[in-house]
């Protein structure tokens, strides 16, 4: 297709430029926006109506005027040149190298929007990933091909936890090829440095691909970051057979960029000003996790988002929860007690856990221990609340034991070191040790034969 250049920008509204008198422009087309000072920005056609096109500018519209730019329509959608050599490299939010390394010679050009995976072609995720974190492995098990977000809040250590997972994640009894893809959206320089130096320190960088859009980088570029990251992931997973862990942080910044565009287009807003299609848009990111029948690789997603005002019903965590396969929720009170990682165990859930645990995957007693820990902790927390209202003396002896259990659970099971990599057997052993605080008659959720086999008293 011929490429066409126009100097007919008529309006600039927020991140959008309206161009007049265009011909042959198509929806979704990529554009180059050349400023008269020689600089170049990228844009994408969001709407075309007759001879008018609305172009979203990834780098933002500051310094643009209707007089100083030439828009060139490139006749194709937004594409990323992918290659196995991307491993170990750092890119900006639009996929351009920023680490002083050589240019990437693409093996392939791929449209970053991808295509929806055929539900018939999917394979159900069921392989246990050991993250070395007890609250995930034992209670909210992650499996290959799952999408499991961290619902965090400002000031909580979600980055440290995400980095720990990236560092420690492995599948037992295999030596499959493994890669980490990191997509940063609007995070601070410090946070980004933390990840990069952590990856470098632990040698993880070699098997990582980083897409960085920092807080002072163009906000609209955040729209492309997860798509760049997932396009790379799909290539590495399903064409190179790698098991890819994709960490995306912070989705809240992504959603805000989306809202900015929507507002500039004067669309009818949905809840809290976010566009009505936020659910659909987020699903085109999250649903790119998964496995494919007959293929080796997989894409596992750990999106991180900060809940505005710690509110789980805010549209961003709410719609995320409606798409992902569970959620790991961070607790401010636990963090205030100095407990790392501050995982709020009770409302957290991995929906795919059941298919990834048990004999041959983790251990036969896993499900029972999980259910028992969960219910004992729930009861212990309840008893603690009761003690606050009615006084400790109102508690029965057994309730007092549950209180003791809950405290030990928080301090020994939830709490662990940032470099402490617990195997699933270690997590299970710790779980049993804590359950031994309670009389055996209370362990109603554990099959007797496991009590016989694994209870510390019987060892």
């Amino acid at each position: 297709m011929v490429t066409r250049e126009y100097r007919t920008a008529r309006e600039i509204v927020g991140p959008l430029v309206l161009v007049d008198g265009v011909e042959g422009v198509t929806f979704g087309e990529l554009t180059d926006i050349k400023l008269d000072d020689g600089s170049l920005r990228r844009g994408r056609v969001l709407e075309v109506n007759g001879d008018k096109a609305v172009v979203q500018v990834f780098e933002g519209t500051s310094d643009l005027s209707t007089e100083n730019l030439t828009i060139k329509f490139l006749g194709k959608g937004t594409e990323l040149g992918v290659s196995g050599d991307m491993l170990g490299r750092v890119f900006d939010g639009f996929g351009r190298p920023i680490d002083d390394g050589p240019a990437i010679i693409p093996e392939k050009w791929l449209n970053i929007n991808g295509n929806p995976m055929n539900p018939f072609s999917r394979d159900y995720p069921n392989e246990f990933i050991q993250t070395g974190i007890s609250t995930i492995d034992l209670l909210n098990t992650l499996v290959r091909g799952q999408k499991l977000p961290f619902f965090s809040a400002s000031g909580l250590p979600h980055s440290r936890m995400a980095a720990q997972v990236a560092r420690q994640a492995k599948v037992l009894r295999t030596d499959d090829k493994f890669a980490v893809i990191f997509g940063a959206m609007g995070i601070t320089f410090e946070e980004s440095e933390f990840f990069i130096s952590d990856f470098r320190r632990t040698g993880a960088l070699e098997r990582a691909v980083l897409f960085m859009n920092l807080a002072d980088d163009p906000a609209i570029e955040r729209i492309s970051v997860p798509r760049m990251a997932l396009t790379t992931a799909e290539f590495l997973a399903f064409e190179k057979g790698m098991h890819v862990l994709v960490i995306l942080t912070d989705l809240t910044n992504y959603c805000e960029a989306l809202r900015e565009i929507s507002a500039a287009r004067k669309e009818v807003p949905g809840r809290r000003g976010y566009p009505g299609y936020l659910y659909t848009d987020l699903s085109t990111i999250y649903e790119r996790a998964g496995r494919i029948k007959g293929k080796n690789g997989s894409i596992t997603q750990l999106p991180v988002l900060t809940m505005p005002e710690d509110d789980k019903t805010h549209p961003i965590p709410d719609l995320t929860g409606y798409i992902t396969e569970g959620q790991i929720i961070m607790s401010r009170p636990l963090h205030a007690q100095g407990i790392y990682p501050p995982v709020d165990v009770l409302p957290s859930l991995s929906r795919l856990k059941d298919k990834g645990i048990g004999d041959g995957k983790t251990r036969e007693d896993h499900a029972d221990v999980m259910n028992q820990l969960y219910s004992a902790y729930a009861r212990g927390k309840n008893s603690k609340e009761l003690a606050v209202v009615l006084g400790e003396s109102a508690l029965s002896d057994i309730d007092l034991l549950y209180v003791k259990f809950a405290d030990a659970f928080e301090n020994r099971f939830i709490r662990q070191g940032e470099d402490e990599n617990r195997s699933i057997d270690e997590s299970l052993a710790l779980g049993w040790e804590l359950l031994a605080i309670l009389p055996k008659s209370e362990l109603k959720r554990v099959n007797d034969k496991y009590i016989e086999k694994y209870h510390p008293e019987n060892k």
């Binding site: 995976m117 809840r271 009505g276 029948k293 019903t313 729930a378």
Partner: protein, 585 residues
């Protein structure tokens, strides 16, 4: 395909506006661009047609051609539907997988009914018979569970002049009918526009329950064959598990499951599980009665809007054969959001929360397609179509427009509660707020068919749960110890109803399904405990000994009693009576 051609003038996401489509009609299907993407006309305004396009529109732009098809969005109906998995516009996903790979590419096409499948047509009508729409020409053994009736399509009426047993694919002519306009050859396949309800002879009120094997549903909030229900709840509260359980265990002849704007993995789960699951009634794999529609959240949003109609039209077609059909739609909120998105792009005046003003009438007309009916056709066969829609309200807030519009039309409300889900009480159906307006009909039926004490027991149990809720408030203020003994006994009975009866683990092989007979006995056992313990308490038996009877553990485990060993309940009741009688007074 007609050559009558228009051109694209505007593209905004899934909405394309075309000019110059002469005589185009509302809801007509069109093909957009050189790639001939599927689309449907949803608005006509001074010569410009707004088209919702069922595929990604990247690369479409002004000047590109648009072609008319002169047909409304329709589905193909005939043998081969069962065991299929379709997208929202009836493209067979297994065939697309075979032909195009793991990703759904644009312009991918494949006939909805597999032409490679060969069927044996067995005639029922005879030469000389006078037939009209809905009359059965013959049958085809479509699966072990479905004897597919080949019916005279809409608009055909006359005398059968040729009919014979034949073997062939769905395009094979099975009969010729001499109509007023001349002879018409009929095959095993017919088409129907999805937005138009298939006609019936007449509707009747639902009379018999759908049994689901889910205790909380069957006992407390029953649905009827031909009835409507909704399952609203926040994320993670268990909507999909409830829908899957119904798809597995509801005693319907045919199940149509529509995954509308939800997760791909959930469809994979169904696909992998159903062929291995055995229907407790027929002992055949559940897949033998199932049709799946999967338009997951990341698939084009316009096709999501259509998926619900595609599903219900297929369901109606089977209903017309005289089957009991159940359709589950997970989630109708995603369908409503698809409407909202298209409406926004059409720049229609938004109603509540940006939804179009016609939201409630669309929802109402969808549920109105359910019912207990006398089908078209001279044999007056009866068919039922039951609808169960999941609703996903933002923030779990039931006051939002989709829940509210749905509640105005459905008769059964299964309200999911995230507090129960957090407490891992599943199914997390709130027993205090949920309701079934079919209660009376089902009580009558159950009293007659299962046990004369059905209704009395149900009412007694619900009464205990309601009293518990009131007492709970008190306990929070003053502690359990401050309650009178009789109330504490009631709390115990309520706890047993909740934990030993209502709680049901969908993933436990033995607990996942409970027959109605067993449900009755389970509840009856718990109520017997309460009935026996109450007078004992009055006679001076210590509360603590009543709360710590050995038999209570057995009652808790009664869930796992085998369906063919229900006499164990008699033994349990005997033990219970003895243990209580033996307590010192």
């Amino acid at each position: 395909m007609s050559n009558a051609q228009g051109v694209v003038v505007k593209v905004s996401g899934p909405l394309v506006v075309a000019r110059g489509l002469k005589n185009a009609r509302m809801y007509e299907m069109v093909r957009v661009g050189e790639g001939r993407l599927f689309g449907e006309i949803i608005e006509i305004r001074s010569g410009d047609c707004s088209i919702q396009v069922y595929e990604e529109t990247e690369g479409i732009g002004p000047g590109q051609p648009v072609f008319r098809t002169e047909e409304a969005l329709s589905v193909e109906l005939g043998p081969g539907l069962i065991r299929s998995i379709y997208d929202g516009v009836q493209r067979p996903l297994d065939k697309l997988h075979a032909a195009f790979g793991e990703y759904i590419v644009r312009g991918a096409e494949s006939p909805a009914l597999d032409r490679n499948l060969i069927w044996d047509f067995v005639p029922v009508a005879k030469v000389g018979d006078q037939v009209a729409h809905g009359d059965v020409l013959g049958t085809v053994e479509e699966s072990k569970l479905v004897n597919h009736k080949i019916m005279v399509p809409f608009g055909v009426e006359g005398q059968v002049s040729k009919i014979a047993a034949v073997t062939g694919n769905v395009d094979t002519v099975v009969a010729t009918v001499d109509t007023a306009k001349g002879p018409v050859e009929l095959t095993m396949v017919q088409r129907w526009p999805v937005r138009k309800p298939r006609p019936v002879a007449r509707k009747m009120p639902p009379v018999s329950p759908i049994t689901t094997g889910q205790r909380v549903l069957d006992m407390f909030f029953p649905l009827t064959q031909g009835g409507t229900a909704c399952v609203p709840g926040p994320f993670g509260s268990g909507k999909t598990v409830v829908q899957h359980q119904l798809a597995k265990w509801a005693n319907a002849n045919i199940v149509v499951y529509v995954g509308c704007g939800e997760r791909g993995n959930e469809m994979t789960d169904v696909l992998q599980e159903f062929p291995a699951l055995i229907d407790p009634v027929s002992n055949e794999p559940l897949m033998e009665r199932t049709v799946l529609i999967a338009n997951t959240s990341n698939m084009p949003v316009a096709a999501r809007e259509a998926s619900v109609f595609t599903g219900i039209t297929i369901a109606e077609y089977f209903r017309d054969m005289g089957f009991s059909v159940a359709l589950m739609a997970d989630s109708t909120s995603r369908w409503a959001e698809a409407m909202r998105e298209m409406s926004g792009r059409l720049e229609e005046m938004p109603g509540e929360e940006g939804y179009p003003a016609y939201l409630s009438s669309r929802i109402a007309s969808f549920y109105e397609r359910a019912g207990n009916v006398i089908c078209k056709g001279s044999d007056e066969r009866q068919g039922t179509l039951s609808l169960i829609g999941a609703v996903s309200p933002p923030g779990g807030d039931f006051s939002e427009p989709v829940v509210q519009a749905t509640l105005r039309v459905v008769k059964v409300f299964w309200g999911l509660d995230d507090k129960l889900a957090f407490a891992r009480h599943f199914p997390a159906i709130n027993w205090l707020t949920s309701y079934s307006l079919y209660q009376e009909v089902v009580d009558k039926y159950s009293n007659e068919n299962y046990d004369p004490a059905w209704q009395a027991n149900r009412q007694k149990a619900m009464g205990i749960l309601q009293q518990e809720a009131e007492l709970d408030e008190l306990v929070r203020l003053v502690g359990m110890d401050a309650l009178p003994m009789s109330d504490r006994l009631l709390m115990q009975a309520a706890k047993m109803i909740r934990e030993d009866f209502l709680h049901q683990n969908a993933f436990d092989e033995r607990d996942t399904y409970t027959s109605l007979k067993k449900q009755f006995r389970m509840l009856d056992l718990i109520l017997s405990y309460f009935d026996l313990a109450k007078p004992a308490l009055e006679e001076g038996v210590l509360l603590n000994s009543l709360l710590s009877l050995d038999v209570l553990e057995d009652i808790a485990r009664a869930k796992l009693i085998d369906e063919d060993k229900l006499e164990e309940f008699d033994a349990l009741k005997e033990t219970l009576t003895q243990e209580i009688a033996a307590l010192p007074r």
